[in-house]
């Protein structure tokens, strides 16, 4: 079982759809502890990604396709999440090199490099109430799943489940990075919008893999 370019394109398509469907909800989360634009930002970015993917260059690899996601997000999202998610896709793409097929270990490498990219730029740690609270548990769960011989789809499902839990785990936290940090105690009880959107992106990755495998 391996994943290929068609997984990437399905993942991107699903992400475009899920971000669009959750646009208002993500902005609402951001309104509670940020500036209310997170859904709008991502939707603008992924709509641009979709346009690029409608004319994906011949001979694209998973890595080159994800690099296109990265540069497009960096050029269109703005805000904090643009450079952060953009860097995640960029570093993830670099980790794949020009491989055409991704096994479980490649998926782990992709997720790990993506997470490390976010940390490189944003310097957040788990518990800071940011998208890292979704990404790091996801990377840990993916690593464990791959070590126990899971398929790429199962690795992504483990990552997605952990990300969902990680996003939920941000609710009781006080934020130490991003706009929500200005709120102090008042951020408690609210879910971090970036962690939530990251979990949606990872769910889309798992579903795309399951559809591709199935």
């Amino acid at each position: 079982m391996t994943l290929d370019l068609s997984w990437v394109t399905t993942w991107v398509d699903d992400t475009v759809a899920v971000v669009s469907d959750n646009r208002l909800r993500l902005s609402e989360l951001d309104r509670e502890i940020g500036d209310g634009d997170h859904g709008e930002n991502l939707d603008r970015g992924f709509a641009a990604v979709k346009a690029k993917f409608d004319a994906l260059p011949e001979g694209s690899t998973p890595g080159s396709a994800l690099k296109l996601v990265a540069t497009t997000l960096i050029s269109t999202v703005g805000g904090a999440s643009g450079p952060l998610l953009g860097t995640a896709y960029l570093k993830g793409a670099q980790a794949l090199g020009d491989a055409a097929e991704l096994d479980a270990d490649a998926v782990v490498a992709l997720l790990t490099a993506a997470r490390d990219g976010v940390v490189l730029r944003g310097k957040a740690e788990v518990g800071d109430k940011t998208m890292i609270d979704a990404w790091t548990p996801a990377v840990d769960a993916a690593t464990a799943a791959a070590a126990s011989g899971a398929s790429p789809a199962a690795v992504l499902r483990a990552a997605a489940d952990a990300a969902v839990e990680g996003a939920a785990s941000t609710e009781p936290l006080v934020a130490r990075k991003g706009r929500a940090s200005y709120l102090g105690d008042r951020a408690v009880g609210h879910r971090d919008p970036g962690a939530e959107s990251s979990s949606l992106i990872l769910i889309a990755a798992a579903e795309a893999a399951e559809a591709t495998e199935g």
Binding site: G79, A80, P83, L84, R121, K177, G178, Y182, G184
Partner: protein, 333 residues
């Protein structure tokens, strides 16, 4: 929500287009990627200065493009920092061979996008130095947080940096002036009512009829505390106390006192605030040698004000007084 707009999606493009039409003597607008640069282009041998950030804070930044202040401004979507592309384009456009200073308000989004842009401009052979503005005393600062926000003090930093560039300082010297200006500047704000982001369509936050938010940010980020509405003089005391303690300012200092309207508060109230702030400074023996009152760093139509105090030395005073010719700040020519 009632706004004089055609479509939430075209607000910034149309507004900047209008700005370019109204101030064709001062600026040129690049529509795509979107930035506003001085008419006449880069001056050979002069340091360029680029600032930018989310829209909705007008006249910041485009209103300060012109002789003696910014070389270019990069307006992002409303309350959302611009992406690196227009920042890079603006940086390349204003480079006169002496490098470019980026003046960046300390928000994660602005910092990251300007950082990326600086890398890209560097790769194109333009030397960029960045100065982060973080004058907002409302926020607790620490290595482990996003740190203080950049708010109204940005106007002061942009003015004196622009004057330094205009007199021919090199990039490091202009950056040093900007850094010094930021280091002596402290601001704190209050909101009585939130503004409405066009594409959001509802207020960024809701305050009860008798509530105000002390320590508000310029995107409506919550501040230190919500308190019950009080007389203006008491509110001013709540703002200016933390400002003066923080640097600290002391008797004998000369300062710029800047009362900034957040967009929806009439001037008549801003001067009531100024009056009390000036009284407090006078009581403490701090001399207000320069002053500024008005809507300079706004948050759409938010009702509220911020108070900025900047400690002036001879150099900063001279740079503040130097001629400036922009849409929203002008003197000496």
């Amino acid at each position: 929500m009632k706004k004089l707009i055609n479509d939430p999606k075209t607000v910034v493009d149309e507004s900047v287009e209008g700005f370019g039409l109204a101030h064709a003597d001062l600026v040129r607008v690049s529509p795509d990627p979107l930035f506003v640069a001085r008419a006449g282009g880069a001056t050979t041998g002069r340091v360029g200065i680029v600032s930018g950030g989310g829209s909705g804070h007008e006249p910041l930044h485009a209103g300060f493009v012109g002789h003696g202040m910014l070389s270019a401004a990069v307006p992002g979507p409303v309350f959302t920092s611009p992406t690196p592309d227009p920042i890079v384009a603006a940086t390349l456009a204003v480079d006169g061979g002496a490098g470019v200073l980026h003046i960046v308000k300390n928000y994660t989004g602005d910092v990251l996008n300007f950082e990326t842009a600086a890398d890209l401009a560097d790769a194109e052979g333009v030397r960029v130095v960045s100065v982060i503005v973080d004058d907002d005393v409302a926020v607790k600062d620490s290595l482990f947080t996003a740190g203080r926000r950049g708010v109204a003090g940005t106007v002061f930093v942009e003015k004196v940096a622009g004057a330094a560039a205009e007199r021919g300082d090199d990039l490091d010297a202009v950056a040093a002036v900007a850094t010094k200006a930021n280091s002596v500047t402290r601001t704190m704000g209050v909101a009585l009512q939130a503004g409405i982001v066009p594409h959001a369509g509802e207020p960024s936050f809701v305050l009860a009829d008798d509530e105000i938010e002390i320590g508000i940010g310029i995107h409506g980020e919550p501040g230190r505390e919500r308190v019950t509405l009080e007389p203006a003089d008491r509110i001013v005391d709540r703002l200016i106390g933390p400002i003066l303690d923080d640097l600290p300012f002391s008797s004998g200092d000369q300062v710029l006192l800047f009362v900034n309207g957040m967009g929806g508060t009439p001037l008549v109230e801003q001067y009531i605030v100024y009056r009390r702030a000036a009284q407090v400074l006078a009581e403490k023996g701090i001399e207000v040698s320069r002053s500024l009152v008005g809507n300079y760093v706004t948050s759409l139509e938010m009702q509220g004000v911020s108070i900025t105090v900047a400690k002036l030395d001879a150099e900063l005073t001279e740079l503040w007084d130097a001629p400036v010719e922009t849409a929203s700040l002008r003197w000496g020519r």
